[in-house]
């Protein structure tokens, strides 16, 4: 029935007058009341302005006026005053509030007046290029004579020397600073001697492992600056997070002045939470988020609203783009109105999409999180999220893309069938009232710290009791001397090895080289896309349909070692979806102890992610029309973990069925993961959980019904023979090659973690379990009537929440 034409998207909902979020929100709410589980308005605000500062150089003021800027927003003026007063500054205002002017003004003024230099760091090359384009326009408008360049892996060798010597503003990224600039700092001597400002934009993206690395790169930067006798001022910018000032201070390890009140005017924003309608009441099946997203986007575009659709995966971007193109771009003689935007396109193609969007020649753009950051694509009226992006902060960052103009905008979050999405739309108050997530980093994580002390020792010798960040470096240096890379002479440690340590340290953990996609249709040899290493196994297997700008290509040959996929154009009426799973094996147990009736351990483990096959899914009808095998090397991770086990006897006494014990372990894993993540201040993605057999014979995952499903070592759903051994184990492991050192502190706090997990579940307001404690549960579980106390062993004792508590109780010390 999905294949039927969409008769509900009737054009009577299309607005007559163009682009008004309030009206479309109202019409949608009226027509689809049953699907809207939450609606709220984020009120706009009047702009607050300040005159251009008197101490701004005349030529710069002139350049601003020539570009139509006669006054500043209040936060821009505050930033000017704070930076001129010499403070480190953090600017925390929404997307599109004119953040870049906050640092452009002091930096350009200092370059003009004192020939002071500035280093800009952006998380991506695309943002760096945007920034240089903007600086060049300002420079031209006032003939300011300020030279700005990007410096990254794409910068040609012969241009590098000129940039080092003549660049007033060098725009780069943390990876390049780490591998290309700091280890060659003597070539940049002139630049460093005159360095006054370091600008770090999008600091909310520097969290977890990546953020911990970046904080250490900043330590190295400050150390090199001290060698050249400078102490630059930091200007940091962040999107809204729960702890912007704390995070900025943690990154640069110094006090910052935070500017958090935006003076930029915004229109009202109308936000709808949208749950697809139930299409099969018997099975509780809902229509797909994709169909709903498609419908809402179509209405918004037909109503003349510039619309941005966020999808969770690259293939979903392509599918949604195709659907919208089928409606709006069926006439090839007309200019295209719909475009896709995602990582993996060539830079040229992305620039073209950005430009077309800014110029207003595109009406709809479908993107992955690539557009969450400050890529300039001009004004938007509506944002539709196809699925929950995983955090409240990211949701608001995406909605922040709409409503640049002073007119009301629309934001719709369409829930997918993912249990977390379903939980959220059932609890809009959680979404609306929650403070955005906190960004956490742990720069003193031992392995990360050791890597960067290694790099720092290469850059400049350590002497005496030198500190690195908050640690005395000596014990770390001794360790490196033992390894043979440093040589100690008196109180100096000098680099002695014939190696370049920064090359071996990736700030973004696993970055094993991108894959290029080569089109071989009709004897061509054209590179049409790039795919990063982590996505290659699930998108470029032989047989995969790889979509580029919604044109399907089929992968004919994958050269894994050479990092190349060869594709040809195809007219397939289906797309492909990889099946993947994770399993885990214990290699070495460092330490063990009793944990209630069971045991706790920590040690080294081997984690394997495998893609055994893929599904073929027909466009529109989404029926599964076949499977294909995939033969690829496993993605392996050698890391450290902490794990808990209960003996089979204990479980058999405590649970009537093995399924219940398994569900209990999955729920306990979820609670332990939440508690442990907080305990070691990790990013949720840096610490992972798994439930499997103690001997690696099987592992378990939560299926679509929210229940544990066993899978054998081949990844196929399996059932245990009644007599087979049954020792379910819950693992928490570092999702970081070589381990990140979480397991040891977690093992030390094992009793505390269990107690906290019990308390987390007990105190949770939910009845049967929810993503905030034991993981997402089915609506059926949640709404089942609470049984009277007359039934002590009744249904209540088998809710996911109760089962998890039972497992934890067995692990808590007697």
């Amino acid at each position: 029935m999905n294949a039927l034409p969409d008769r509900y998207a009737s054009d009577d909902l299309v607005l007559g007058e163009p682009g008004d979020g309030r009206n479309l929100a109202r019409r949608l709410s009226k027509r689809y009341a049953a699907r809207i589980t939450g609606a709220f308005v984020v009120p706009g605000r009047e702009g607050r302005f300040a005159p251009l500062p008197d101490d701004l150089p005349d030529a710069l003021a002139g350049a601003l006026r020539a570009r139509g800027i006669d006054q500043l927003y209040s936060h821009q003026a505050e930033a000017w005053q704070a930076t001129r007063a010499g403070a480190h500054v953090a600017i925390v205002t929404p997307t599109a509030s004119g953040k870049s002017l906050c640092y452009t003004l002091p930096v350009v003024a200092a370059a003009m007046q004192d020939h002071a230099k500035a280093l800009y760091l952006f998380p991506t090359k695309a943002l760096a290029q945007d920034q240089v384009a903007e600086l060049l326009e300002l420079n031209q408008a006032g003939a300011l004579g300020v030279k700005a360049f990007t410096f990254d892996g794409d910068t040609p060798g012969d241009a590098r020397q000129a940039i080092r010597l003549h660049g007033d503003i060098v725009v780069s990224n943390p990876d390049m600073l780490h591998q290309g600039i700091l280890p060659h700092h003597t070539k940049w001597a002139q630049f460093f001697e005159n360095l006054r400002y370091v600008v770090i934009d999008e600091v909310h993206t520097y969290r977890g492992v990546f953020g911990s690395h970046v904080a250490n790169v900043i330590r190295r930067l400050k150390r090199v600056c001290a060698f050249y006798g400078v102490n630059p001022q930091f200007i940091l910018c962040s999107a809204t997070i729960g702890n912007p000032q704390e995070h900025a201070e943690a990154l640069i390890e110094d006090a910052v002045t935070a500017i958090t009140e935006s003076g930029a005017p915004t229109g009202d924003k109308h936000v709808l939470l949208w749950n697809p309608p139930v299409v099969n009441p018997d099975l509780g099946l809902r229509a797909s988020a994709r169909s709903q997203t498609n419908r809402i986007a179509r209405l918004a575009i037909k109503s003349g609203m510039k619309t941005l659709v966020f999808a969770q995966s690259r293939s979903m971007v392509e599918v949604l783009t195709k659907y919208l193109k089928d409606v709006f771009d069926h006439d090839p003689r007309k200019r295209p109105r719909i475009r896709a935007y995602r990582g993996g396109y060539l830079p040229k193609e992305r620039r073209a999409a950005e430009r077309a969007m800014r110029e207003g020649s595109i009406d709809g753009i479908v993107s992955t999180s690539a557009l969450e950051l400050g890529v300039d694509i001009g004004s938007l009226d509506a944002v539709v999220l196809n699925g929950y992006p995983g955090s409240v902060a990211a949701t608001w960052q995406r909605f922040g893309r709409a409503g640049r103009r002073q007119q009301s905008a629309l934001g719709v979050l369409v829930a997918s069938s993912d249990p977390l999405d379903q939980y959220l739309v059932r609890h809009p108050e959680f979404f609306q009232g929650a403070t955005p997530e906190h960004a956490r980093i742990q720069p003193d994580q031992p392995l990360i710290l050791l890597d960067h002390i290694r790099c720092a020792a290469f850059e400049l010798p350590f002497t005496g009791d030198e500190m690195f960040g908050t640690e005395v470096a000596t014990p770390w240096l001794d360790l490196l001397a033992e390894e043979g890379v440093l040589h100690r002479e008196g109180d100096r440690w000098e680099w002695i090895a014939d190696s370049y340590p920064a090359i071996a340290v990736s700030l973004r953990s696993v970055a094993d080289g991108n894959f290029v996609v080569v089109d071989r249709t009709d004897g061509r040899q054209t590179i049409i896309a790039e795919v990063d290493y982590s996505a290659a196994a699930v998108t470029l297997y032989e047989g995969a349909i790889h979509m580029v700008q919604s044109l399907p290509y089929q992968v004919e040959k994958l050269d894994w070692e050479g990092r190349k996929a060869y594709v040809t154009r195809t007219n397939a009426d289906y797309y492909t979806d990889a099946i993947d799973y994770t399993k885990l094996k214990v290699l070495d147990c460092f330490d063990s102890s009793h944990a209630g009736c069971g045991h706790a351990h920590h040690g080294e483990v081997h984690v394997v992610r495998r893609v055994p096959g893929y599904k073929k899914i027909r466009f529109y009808s989404h029926e599964n029309i076949g499977y294909g095998p995939v033969n690829l090397p496993d993605q392996e991770l050698h890391t450290t973990a902490v794990w808990w086990q209960l003996p089979q006897m204990v479980l058999e006494a405590a649970f009537e069925q093995r399924q219940q014990a398994l569900d209990g372990f999955l729920g306990a894993a979820c609670a332990l993961h939440i508690v442990a993540t907080v305990a070691v201040m990790a990013e949720a993605r840096d610490l992972q959980k798994a439930v499997g057999s103690g001997d690696g014979a099987w592992f378990a995952s939560t299926d679509l019904r929210g229940r544990g499903q066993l899978r054998g070592s081949d990844g196929q759903p399996a059932a245990l023979a009644p007599g087979a051994p049954f020792t379910p184990t819950v693992y928490l492991y570092d999702a970081f090659p070589g381990g990140i050192g979480h397991s040891e502190p977690l093992f030390r706090r094992r009793e505390d973690l269990l107690a906290q997990s019990v308390s987390l579940i007990e105190r949770c307001d939910c009845r049967a379990g929810c993503p905030a404690c034991v993981g997402p549960v089915l609506a059926a579980d949640e709404s089942a009537p609470s049984l009277p106390s007359a039934s002590p062993d009744g249904l209540d004792a088998t809710t996911p929440k109760a089962l998890a508590l039972r497992v934890l109780a067995l692990l808590v010390a007697l």
């Binding site: 033992e482 090895a497 370049y500």
Partner: protein
Amino acid sequence: MPPELRRLLQRHAQLKRGLTMVPSSCDRDVPGIELSPGLRYTEAFADWLVPPRIIDAGFARMDPVHHDRLLHFDTETTGLAGGTGTRAFMIGAADWQEGRLRIRQLTITTMAAEAAMLRAFAEWLDEDTVLVSYNGKCYDAPLLATRYRLARLPNPLAGRGHLDLLHPVRRHWKHQWPNCRLATAERQLLGVVREDDLPGAEAPAAWLTYLRGGSARNLRRVAAHNAQDLKSLAGVLLHMATLQEA
């Protein structure tokens, strides 16, 4: 640092790979006189060809130059990784003294002596010096520039004329010879055949072994290798200058 943490870090550093213990040796003889603590100096004369008074450097698109002004130089370094972590532990230089080739070498036996070595080498240069090297423009000169910068000393190589023979040799013979390394050039042009030559790639280990208390034998072979490089450098330059006349 707690011991468990230390163990974890050691495991990850894969100490097994790095733990090559250097046996301490009684052969600790580094030739030369000690100019200052840790800095050794040797000087030798070689009767090796006879230079014309004025050398035609047209093959390298440079003006003719009096042979008194030439300073042939070559460094021995701790590796090829590049960046701020690679250093020279030996600097050799050759110049013409009354028709004979004088070969001077500076070797450091401690890290701390590096600054003294850099100062001593700087004194060998003056405003008129024309440097002669083999791939020195891309390798030795930038490496020394980095070392002078790190020692906070002015770079004496900056602004000096520099005749890098690699490029003219390549232009002439890249199609005739299997490669254009100095060892190939000296064999083809000067008929030099080295005996018991320590390959350049083993120089870092030779010095490191000595630094860690091991034998000085290979370090002396590095010095011999360096001296032969300097002689060949002078010879190749003279050969190329005559080539021009022909």
